[in-house]
C-alpha cells in the first residue's frame, strides 16, 4: 500500500504541469462549492435575521374564553351570533411565577411580557390609529432590537414616554420631546411625551406602532395585573418547534412556535437550501468528471509502464491502488487549496454580524463555508472518479501493454 502510494506520488510529481493544472481545476470546483455554501447558508441567515430576527420565536398568548352558552332544555337548534371581543382582551395571570421558569430553559435568551391593544394617537386635529405595545422597561430590545433602530432619543421607556416610528412622526409632523394624546380602545386617554423615534425600515411598524411602558399600558387597557402575551427569544430560532411544546407542558400555556405563523418563509428557506444542494452537487460532479478524464488519459499514457509493473509481479490490486491513490491525492490537494482559497476570499466579506437589521451586510457567511465537508467530499469524489481508470489500468493485458 505504502509503495503503491509512493509510485502514485512519483507519477504526480513527474508530470508537474499536468498535476498542477488538475489540482487547480479541482481547487476551483472546491472554491465554488465553498462559496456557494457560504452564500446559500449566509443568505438563509441573512433572510432570517432580517425577517424572523425581530420576531418572537415563541409566543404565549392567553386563549380567549367564549361566553358560556345557556341553551333552553327543549331547544333542538340554537343560532348563536357572537361579536369579536375587542373590548375584553384575554389575560395571562401569574406571569411572575412562570417567566423565571421559562427563562431558565436552555436556549431561551430572553422573555418580554407585553400588553397589546389598539388605540388612537392625536396631535391637534390629526388622529391616527395605532397598535399600542406595552413593554417592560429594560426589555425594550429583547425581541425587536428597538435600541438599534432608534434614530432620535432613546429606546428606554419611562413612565409617560412613547416611542414612535419615523414615518408616523413625519405623517403627523411630530418631533422628539413633543406631547401626544393616546387614547386606547377602552376610551382611556393619556398624554405621553415622544422620548424616541425609531426606523425599522418597514411600513407597518414605522407607521402604525407605538411603544409605551408596561405601566402606561396597564392604565390604558385597564389591566392592573397580568399581560396579554409573552414573547420569547431563543438563541437558535430553529429550536422553537421543539421548545414550544416543552414550555406548554411546563406552564400549561398555549406556546406557539414562530414557524406556525411563518410556514411560507420556512418553505422558501428550505427550497433555497435545496437549490444550494443542487448547485453544490454540480460543482462536485464537475470535479469528478475532471479527475476521471485526466486519470483516464494518464492511464492511457502509462499503459506500457503498467504492463512492465504487471510483468515484474505487481498484481491487479497494486495497479488499482496506484491510480486510486493518484485520484485521492489530487482530490485532497485540490480540496485543501480550494478550501484555503475559499476561506481567504470569504475573509473579505463582513460576516454574520452584519446581517442584523440596520447593518449594511452582504448575505455571505464565512462560518458556513463547509470547508471540512468540501475537502472530504472532494477527496471521496476524486477517489470515486479514479476507480474507473484504475480498473481499466488493472485489467490491462501486460503483453499488449508492453508491446505498445
Amino acid at each position: 500500500m505504502l509503495y503503491a502510494i509512493k509510485i502514485a506520488t512519483r507519477y504526480l510529481t513527474a508530470s508537474k504541469a499536468q498535476t498542477a493544472l488538475l489540482v487547480f481545476g479541482v481547487a476551483i470546483g472546491v472554491f465554488i462549492f465553498i462559496f456557494m455554501s457560504a452564500l446559500i447558508g449566509g443568505l438563509a441567515e441573512f433572510i432570517m435575521a432580517r425577517t424572523a430576527g425581530d420576531m418572537a420565536h415563541i409566543t404565549i398568548q392567553a386563549e380567549a374564553v367564549d361566553p358560556a352558552l345557556l341553551s333552553p332544555a327543549d331547544a333542538h337548534r340554537v343560532l348563536l351570533a357572537q361579536e369579536p371581543a375587542s373590548q375584553t382582551a384575554a389575560i395571562l395571570k401569574d406571569t411572575a411565577a412562570f417567566i423565571p421558569l421559562i427563562e431558565s430553559l436552555p436556549g431561551v435568551i430572553g422573555t418580554s411580557p407585553q400588553i397589546n391593544g389598539s388605540g388612537f394617537l392625536t396631535r391637534g386635529a390629526q388622529v391616527t390609529q395605532v397598535s399600542i405595545n406595552g413593554l417592560e422597561p429594560g426589555k425594550e430590545s429583547v425581541i425587536a432590537n428597538l435600541a438599534g433602530y432608534i434614530t432620535q432619543g432613546t429606546a428606554n421607556l419611562g413612565a409617560g414616554g412613547v416611542l414612535l416610528g419615523k414615518t408616523l412622526t413625519q405623517d403627523m409632523n411630530l418631533r422628539l420631546g413633543q406631547t401626544v394624546r393616546v387614547q386606547s380602545s377602552y376610551g382611556i386617554e393619556a398624554l405621553l411625551t415622544i422620548t424616541g423615534i425609531y426606523e425599522m425600515g418597514s411600513g407597518g411598524p414605522d407607521r402604525r406602532q407605538a411603544y409605551v411602558s408596561l405601566a402606561t399600558a396597564r392604565t390604558l387597557f385597564k389591566m392592573p395585573q397580568g399581560v396579554t402575551r409573552i414573547e420569547i427569544k431563543l438563541a437558535d430560532l430553529y429550536t422553537a418547534d421543539a421548545l414550544a411544546p416543552r414550555i406548554k407542558a411546563l406552564t400549561g400555556l398555549d406556546a406557539k412556535s414562530w414557524t406556525e405563523q411563518a410556514a411560507q418563509l420556512l418553505e422558501a428557506l428550505q427550497a433555497q437550501a435545496q437549490t444550494g444542494y443542487i448547485l453544490k452537487a454540480f460543482a462536485l460532479l464537475t470535479i469528478i468528471i475532471g479527475v476521471a478524464s485526466a486519470l483516464l488519459l494518464s492511464t492511457y499514457r502509462r499503459r506500457p509502464e503498467i504492463g512492465i509493473m504487471r510483468a515484474m509481479g505487481a498484481g491487479r490490486w497494486f495497479v488499482m491502488v496506484v491510480f486510486v491513490s493518484q485520484g485521492a491525492l489530487i482530490g485532497l490537494m485540490g480540496g485543501l487549496f480550494g478550501a484555503a482559497a475559499g476561506y481567504g476570499v470569504l475573509l473579505a466579506f463582513p460576516g454574520r454580524d452584519s446581517f442584523a437589521p440596520g447593518q449594511n451586510g452582504l448575505p455571505i457567511d464565512i462560518a458556513q463555508g463547509a470547508y471540512g465537508l468540501a475537502i472530504v467530499l472532494t477527496t471521496l469524489g476524486a477517489i470515486a472518479a479514479s476507480i474507473l481508470p484504475a480498473r481499466a489500468a488493472a485489467r490491462l493485458d501486460p503483453v499488449t501493454a508492453i508491446g505498445q
Partner: protein
C-alpha cells in the same frame, strides 16, 4: 542439474473462425536449472509467444506448462503474478524501465512490490547488483539519463533482484551496439556461471546463440531442434 520447467504439447491460437492463427502447434520443451539457452527461429516462428507463456504472462490454449513442480497451465492470474514475481525475471529488447524512477528504484521494484515497501535490505541488494553491472556511479540516476547499454544492464539487475530461478530475455542485445551487447552477454554468462540462474535468451544473432550452452530452435510453431 534438476528439472526446472517442462511444457508438453503446448498449443496457442489467436483469433477464431477463419481468422484463427495457430502460433504454437504442440511444443515440447524441458529445461534444467543452471542452463544458458538460446531460443532461435525466424520472425513469426512463435519464439515470443513461447517466451510469454513460459513467463506466465499468457495462458496456453492447450497443453501442459509446469515449473519447479508447479502446474501453471490453469493457475489463476493472482497465483501466476506471485509465481512470476518470485521465480521469473524478464529482460526486454527495449529495456522497459520505469522512466520516472532512478536506476536503483527500478531494480528494487520486484521486491518492493512484493513487500509493500522499499526495505533497507532490498536497497542494499539493488545497490550490489548495480555495482556488479558496472553502474556504481549511476545508482541514483534517473533512467532517462542513462545510455542504452546502461539501461539494459539496469534491466538485467532488475530481473535478478528476487533471485529468480529463470530469466527470460527477449532479444536483450537487439537494440545495443556491439560493445554494449558484448558487455550485457558477459554479465549474463557470469551470473549463470556464478549463481546457477537459468537463462533462456530469444535471439536472431548467431554469435549470441554461440555463447549459450544450448540452442533451442523454433520453427512453424514447433521446437525443431
Amino acid at each position: 542439474m534438476t528439472a526446472l520447467l517442462q511444457v508438453q504439447d503446448l498449443v496457442k491460437t489467436f483469433g477464431s473462425g477463419d481468422a484463427e492463427t495457430r502460433v504454437l502447434r504442440g511444443v515440447h520443451l524441458a529445461m534444467q536449472t543452471g542452463e544458458l539457452a538460446a531460443l532461435l527461429g525466424p520472425s513469426g516462428s512463435g519464439k515470443s509467444t513461447l517466451l510469454t507463456i513460459l513467463g506466465t504472462l499468457m495462458h496456453p490454449t492447450s497443453g501442459q506448462h509446469s515449473m519447479l513442480g508447479v502446474d501453471l497451465t490453469t493457475a489463476s492470474d493472482r497465483a501466476l503474478t506471485e509465481f512470476r514475481n518470485q521465480h521469473i525475471g524478464f529482460v526486454f529488447q527495449f529495456h522497459n524501465l520505469l522512466p520516472d524512477f532512478t536506476a536503483l528504484e527500478n531494480v528494487v521494484f520486484p521486491t518492493a512490490v512484493r513487500e509493500g515497501r522499499e526495505t533497507a535490505a532490498a536497497r542494499t541488494r539493488g545497490q550490489e547488483l548495480l555495482v556488479r553491472m558496472g553502474l556504481a556511479e549511476r545508482i541514483h540516476f534517473p533512467t532517462a539519463n542513462l545510455s542504452g547499454g546502461q539501461k539494459q544492464r539496469v534491466a538485467v539487475a532488475r530481473a535478478l533482484m528476487n533471485r529468480p530461478e529463470l530469466v527470460l530475455a527477449d532479444e536483450p542485445t537487439g537494440n545495443l551496439d556491439r560493445a554494449s551487447a558484448a558487455q550485457v552477454m558477459d554479465l549474463i554468462a557470469e551470473i549463470n556461471r556464478d549463481e546457477g540462474t537459468t537463462f533462456l535468451i530469444s535471439t536472431h544473432d548467431e554469435k549470441i546463440a554461440a555463447l549459450c550452452q544450448r540452442q533451442i530452435v523454433v520453427g512453424e510453431g514447433l521446437v525443431t531442434g
